[in-house]
């Protein structure tokens, strides 16, 4: 079960917001995590707690192919990103790292920063503050298999013959 506090950054959260270009030279995931969201909220990395959930509106993760962006989120403690829509490369990168990227209509209007969010991946449900229920778009089966394995690294190790 994914459970944590929500951080809502609205529409068009680009990869420069999630991890600015000056940090692309980093290779240590934990160090990337210490700069997560620095381009839009320099306080985020200090205050985020393990399990917290980042919320966005349309086109979350637009911009660069830098996997540093979802790596930084994951290693800052974020357990899922829920947005109304995702840019293609970010979506794949997050899934490949085992970080769920979930599409949910109107989520950026329904959830406020500080709300408690619970996600039930199997049921396709998000519960806000223990009361309001939202449905997210079912994760495609193939992507779900990757998520269940914890990411593409483990998936390929397990499924090398059918890859």
């Amino acid at each position: 079960m994914i459970r944590g506090k929500a951080w809502n950054y609205g529409d068009d959260v680009n990869t420069d917001f999630i991890l600015p270009g000056i940090y692309l030279e980093l290779t240590d995931p934990d160090e990337m995590g210490r700069h997560a969201m620095e381009g839009i909220d320099p306080e985020f990395a200090e205050n985020v707690q393990q399990g917290d959930v980042v919320i966005g509106g349309r086109n979350f993760g637009l911009g660069s192919s830098r996997e540093h962006a979802p790596i930084a989120l994951k290693h800052s403690g974020v357990s899922a990103v829920i947005a109304e829509g995702f840019a293609r490369i970010f979506y794949r990168n997050a899934t490949n790292l085992g970080l769920p990227a979930l599409e949910c209509l109107h989520v950026s209007k329904e959830v406020e920063t500080g709300d408690t969010v619970e996600v039930d991946l199997a049921k396709g449900k998000i519960v806000v503050n223990g009361e309001k229920e939202l449905d997210f778009v079912p994760v495609p089966e193939f992507m779900m298999e990757i998520l269940e394995d914890g990411g593409l690294r483990e998936y390929i190790k397990k499924n090398r013959d059918k890859w």
Binding site: F17, I22, N59, G63, S64, S65, R66, I71, N96, L152
Partner: protein
């Protein structure tokens, strides 16, 4: 009844035909990585229990975003990339003396029509200008691609951008793609292939087509595509050392939508802060004072771009309140621009000419903006903070508009310069 993108994915997935939405496992023809994403890709490959790349001739690393190294951290990353290239015995490796990946990959003959290419950089879509299916991926996908030679793809729908007519003097392909961004929006082509057709595209140079395809990602696109023609073949002559089979869209191919652009009527365009689709005709933003002008990047750092800038600056001095950074996209471009006197023209006007690299574009190399400063840039992204301070402002435009504005100190319509 297939598009170029569908045909390439079908042939590389060993299928007769594919349809949008299908997942295809496809064989990769070539994979490249800039230093900033290369180490992460190799870590991913090793974590998959794969020790060696699937084909040492088909994988390369380029040290381009930051070049030469600017601190110990990125110097160490460069060192690690050089060591990986040696350990993996990669046939091709491009150190800091070659140029920006998206310029170098075609120059060195790695791109050809009908191929399937992946790059660990979002602007890999540039290579669709040669009739290839080329798409940007992250480092874990790249680890899988270089380790196994295969990757899965969701077959994209295709959006056609049909451009008819003749561009006015000082209106460039950059203006066409900025106009496209305005019309479709920054997520208007998410998961789609963007196919550029029409008489204006046929009249364009290969370099101008690269500018169009380069920015497909700014609309969410998976790739940009221009069907190959005689110009494509001529560019590749002497570079690609083997045969290839160009593919073309069928007359009855299905497009999600077609955007029509009339290039006769097209004005120079400017993308205003802080979104690539916040585009206005130059006449609406003319007069805005700028501090820094950047001419370069994988979008507009080619010979014809430097030439267009030099035309505007010949015999003139840049405005005293403006600094100009001009960065050729590759050493081949640099050398040609030097031979043709373009570099001297830019320098005589007061421009700083830098060695080929990603330069100012991504805010991690040099030319960083201070709070409150305004940049007019020929690159591809103007997100808040992209080129430095989160309190700075980036406007995107063509090399002609950038250079005309460098002289006056304010955003200027190049048709009046």
């Amino acid at each position: 009844m297939s598009t170029v993108a569908e045909k390439i994915l079908a042939s590389h997935g060993d299928l007769d035909e594919v349809h949008p939405g299908e997942i295809v496992k496809a064989e990769i023809d070539f994979a490249f990585m800039p230093a900033l994403t290369a180490a992460l890709a190799f870590y991913a490959m090793y974590d998959m229990d794969i020790e060696k790349v699937w084909d040492r001739d088909k994988v390369t690393i380029l040290l381009d975003h930051i070049a030469p190294a600017t601190n110990v951290t990125n110097a160490s990353l460069h060192k690690e990339c050089r060591e990986i290239a040696k350990e993996q015995n990669l046939r091709h490796f491009y150190d800091i003396n070659v140029g920006v990946c998206h310029q170098v990959i075609p120059e060195k003959g790695h791109v050809y029509p009908g191929m399937l290419m992946v790059g660990a950089d979002s602007h890999t879509c540039t290579h669709g200008a040669f009739g290839a299916f080329a798409t940007g991926i992250g480092s874990t996908d790249m680890g899988a691609a270089i380790g196994t030679g295969k990757l899965w793809f969701k077959v994209p729908e295709t959006v056609r951008v049909n451009v008819e007519g003749r561009l006015s003097p000082s209106v460039m392909s950059k203006d066409v793609i900025l106009k496209t961004a305005k019309e479709l929006g920054a997520d208007g082509a998410t998961y789609c292939s963007l196919e550029f057709t029409g008489s204006t595209i046929r009249d364009m140079s290969v370099g101008a087509r690269m500018t169009l395809c380069n920015m497909a990602i700014e609309l969410g696109g998976k790739t940009g595509i221009v069907e190959p023609d005689d110009k494509t073949i001529r560019f590749l002559e002497g570079r690609v050392k083997h045969g290839y089979t160009p593919v073309y869209s069928d007359g009855d191919a299905v497009y999600r939508e077609t955007l029509e652009i009339d290039s006769d009527a097209l004005e120079p365009q400017v993308a205003c802060p802080h979104a690539v689709d916040n585009v206005k005709p130059v006449t609406e933003v003319a007069g805005k004072a700028v501090n820094q002008v950047f001419i370069g990047s994988c979008t507009n750092g080619r010979l014809e771009d430097l030439q267009a800038a030099a035309e505007m600056m010949r015999g003139k001095r840049i405005h005293p309140d403006v600094r100009v950074i001009a960065t050729p996209a590759s050493y081949e471009v640099y050398d040609a621009a030097n031979s043709q006197g373009i570099i001297k023209t830019l320098m005589d006007a007061g421009a700083v000419v830098c060695n080929p690299s990603c330069s100012v574009c991504f805010g991690g190399n040099h030319g960083i903006l201070a709070p409150g400063e305004v940049s007019l840039s020929t690159s591809n992204r103007n997100f808040r903070g992209r080129q430095g301070s989160t309190e700075s402002y980036v406007y995107l435009c063509s090399p002609a508009t950038a250079a005309a504005s460098a002289v006056t100190g304010v955003i200027t319509d190049p048709r009046e310069a």
